[in-house]
Subunit: 492 residues, 2 copies
């Protein structure tokens, strides 16, 4: 049984002491990844401390990625906490180890460097205990996944499509699914494409890697700054040149893009992460113009949460106004269904689809047939549309409630809400003298996780401090009051 | 309605004429990918020819990848048949277009260049009509997938694991599945590893791409010659240096490997594809020695069908005798369950696992939670072991029957069977004056698809002609006699 002495805790509180002891044991490999920790109750009893103290220490370790919890099973040492053996991490080096943990858990990096608070897809992020409030999570609330209809369709597919289930699909994916998606895109997004232009993949990250192989390792790629950091990391890991292009009030700055020497621009014009900006139609045409001016230039349009636009007419996808075959459109079902359903797709312009089939069709489709057929039926029988409508109204209601509560709270005089009309997050600007890092740190201490806009910039820009990203998609309604109370407490 | 004139068929048979007409329309884009062709009966009636003629033309087009069939729905223009617009392919250029079709469908390339007859995973391969006999297919027979137990487990998971299903797993995959795999590997393969060393991925091809990012784009990779061509293609598509190392009678030739300057060797010592060779223990130690002699050297051990070894004690995996953390072990469930279930995994040595979590843990796991939990339960409740045992005995029986029938046939005096004790294919050596290309071509005309060993060599070697790969895993028993009859007809 794990035991620690509490005879000399220095200036640390009991919970801080316990937190450090466990963390050091994890860093020293005395506790191995996957190892189960004592239950909070047993541990508290054995150490002669309160259950709340253990709970707080565990919560902190979870939030930093050292532990993870499995419902009904307990707390385990996280495998994302592995560090190189022999590295001298200890209590004296807290900043360094915190920063490494943050690196691995995509959390705010207190060192001030850009971080990787990947709200869209954050797989390494351990789930927080229910007492924690998480304004960075993209996880689907269990109540929102359409389990009963999904289960029914899985059953039908397993009964009725056995031959199809064991038949190798084309490299681009199961035909029925790609056809269903084309019909959905036409009705829902005004995008007219043929099924053979659609390539299915197990997550957008995998598709990015295919795109690098398709467009070329020798090309220069550009990403938005600020932006969804994971995209830049994927380019970096593939050792291709990657430039960070600043945004102005309309989106990617065309003159900076021109100067950068980039060939391929990766952007999210429907709803930029994290600023929430929607690129207006004029800028869309300017960017298409940039792409058309030279051979080998392309735009990768990441349309990840366009389904959840709250008000107004959706602006046409760049794909749909592209006459020069310059736009690769990417979307995913991880936002609309669940982050754990790994089904995404890209739409290639015809000449790139041709190139794909010529050069890359030896790859097997990465999505299993079972889920492709289930999803195809889900779209075809209208369930997908119903589900999106239900979710949109659910998110709409939650956003309205959250904003209303903020406006009625003591936080109201100190806060401005921005970019709340698209997607599943908005920006909360707080009037405070505290630094962003300090606010995030204090919030974490109070069991609230929130990310600052500034942490998504590669190059710092003026006037971006004190803006925080409120991702409300996974926020339970019953936590709203408490979240506002904590923020109030910190800044007032 | 599609129509063709049969007034001038030249020296072509009716079926050849129809085949060429349709193919030209596909190449000229008059028939678009996804377009449905007339039913055989209707088409025959309209053209005034027999149903058999249409059937033969369709079959030929399917075998070359121009068409694919969907059970109960009909015949469609394949998306793997896309070729660059404007390329002058026509009847006069049959070899060229056949060769391109072969490129895309992983079929025998009659041009004599190495081909990509990917028997392990051949996604682009359109399914042949039932009259065709396919000795290159890896597809699971519908009767062999454990549908009822799988359906039961899916139902249970969807009922009982809802919270887990929507909770983001660690980047390496769902813990329960990785634990179940470690237990299975220990019992079944003598491999002792911790769950955190296991990384799940949507197919081995995806894992290769992760490994390049992990081991380095600046490293030189080596593959076996002959070998499973897709591996070399993946390295080529990632623009990393790739060398082809010849095999001798024990496997990869160590002196050639040494000379090549390679850092990483990709091999399948349990059952080499396509030769069937099993690398003896002495050579395994030599290769481990090679890896140990320099920093940054690694072996990627692809153990893709070790579960189906037919006789004798399985030779220990290189992973299990590796004391220097030099072996990355890769295995897949596409062989044991179905080629359309995209779940594979790799085992990283501890220091590489550390590096993986440090550098690549921002990637989301590419396998959906739903299938990870279902498979975890399938392994844990003993179903997986039962399934493998059942399949092993099924394949054993089929192999015995096939070999017995060959030995009792008129083919016997002209044939030698080699390397029949491991895995799901063996080598059939035929005494004939015909070239390999000619034999494969004649076989295809007679509706039999078979691949020659020589087509898997990057550099031709002496004495490899007239050896053919017989992949019997997907061969229905009722086709055995006919397959032997056709081969007999060709070579006698």
């Amino acid at each position: 049984m794990l035991t620690y002495s509490f005879s000399d805790t220095g200036s640390d509180s009991l919970y801080q002491h316990l937190y450090k002891c466990i963390k050091n044991d994890i860093l020293a490999r005395n506790l191995r990844a996957g190892e189960k920790l004592p239950s909070k109750r047993t541990f508290a009893k054995n150490l002669g401390i309160s259950v709340i103290t253990v709970e707080n220490a565990y919560a902190q370790l979870i939030s930093e990625g050292y532990l993870y919890s499995v419902p009904k099973k307990g707390f385990f040492v996280s495998d994302i906490s592995m560090l190189p053996s022999g590295t001298a991490f200890g209590q004296s080096n807290l900043t360094r180890s915190l920063s490494d943990a943050a690196e691995r858990t995509n959390m705010k990096n207190p060192g001030g460097k850009p971080d990787h608070a990947d709200i869209e897809e954050a797989p390494g992020l351990a789930s927080l205990p229910s007492s924690f409030i998480d304004l960075t999570s993209n996880q689907t609330d269990i109540r929102n996944f359409p389990f009963s209809i999904w289960a029914k369709l899985v059953r039908e597919v397993l009964n009725e499509n056995q031959q199809e289930l064991v038949t190798n699909p084309p490299c681009g994916g199961v035909w029925e699914l790609r056809s269903a998606i084309t019909r959905h895109l036409k009705d829902f997004r005004g995008i007219s494409v043929a099924p053979e232009q659609i390539i299915m993949g197990a997550g957008t990250e995998y598709l990015y890697s295919l795109l690098i192989q398709l467009l070329g390792f020798d090309k220069t790629y550009a990403v938005e700054d600020p932006g969804y950091r994971k995209i830049a990391r994927i380019y970096e890991k593939h050792k291709v040149a990657c430039r960070h292009i600043p945004l102005d009030e309309s989106g990617v700055c065309v003159s900076a893009l021109e100067k950068s020497g980039a060939d391929v621009l990766h952007l999210s014009p429907s709803h930029h992460f994290p600023t929430g900006l929607v690129t207006p139609i004029s800028r869309r045409y300017e960017l298409l113009g940039w792409a058309a001016r030279a051979e080998g230039r392309y735009l990768i349009e990441d349309d990840y949460d366009s389904e959840f636009r709250m008000i107004g007419n959706p602006i046409p996808a760049m794909q749909s106004i592209d006459l020069s075959e310059k736009v690769v459109y990417i979307n995913t079902f991880t936002k609309t269904l669940a982050s754990t359903v790994r089904i995404s797709y890209m739409i290639l312009p015809r000449h790139l689809a041709d190139r794909f089939y010529r050069e890359l069709s030896f790859y097997s489709c990465t999505v299993s047939n079972f889920e492709q057929y289930t999803l195809a039926h889900f779209i075809e029988n209208g369930s997908f549309e119903k589900h999106i409508n239900r979710m949109r109204s659910y998110y709409h209601k939650k956003r309205d409630l959250l904003i209303q509560k903020i406006r009625q709270s003591e936080l109201a005089p100190h806060a401005i809400i921005r970019e709340e009309d698209a997607g599943l997050h908005f920006i909360l600007e707080l009037h405070t003298g505290l630094s962003d890092t300090e606010i995030c740190r204090r919030a974490l201490q109070k069991e609230l996780r929130i990310a600052a806009l500034s942490s998504f910039y590669a190059q710092m820009a003026p006037g971006i401090e004190h803006r925080f990203i409120v991702n409300y998609s996974a926020l339970p309604e019953e936590q709203i009051d408490e979240a506002i109370r904590i923020l109030c407490e910190i800044i007032t």
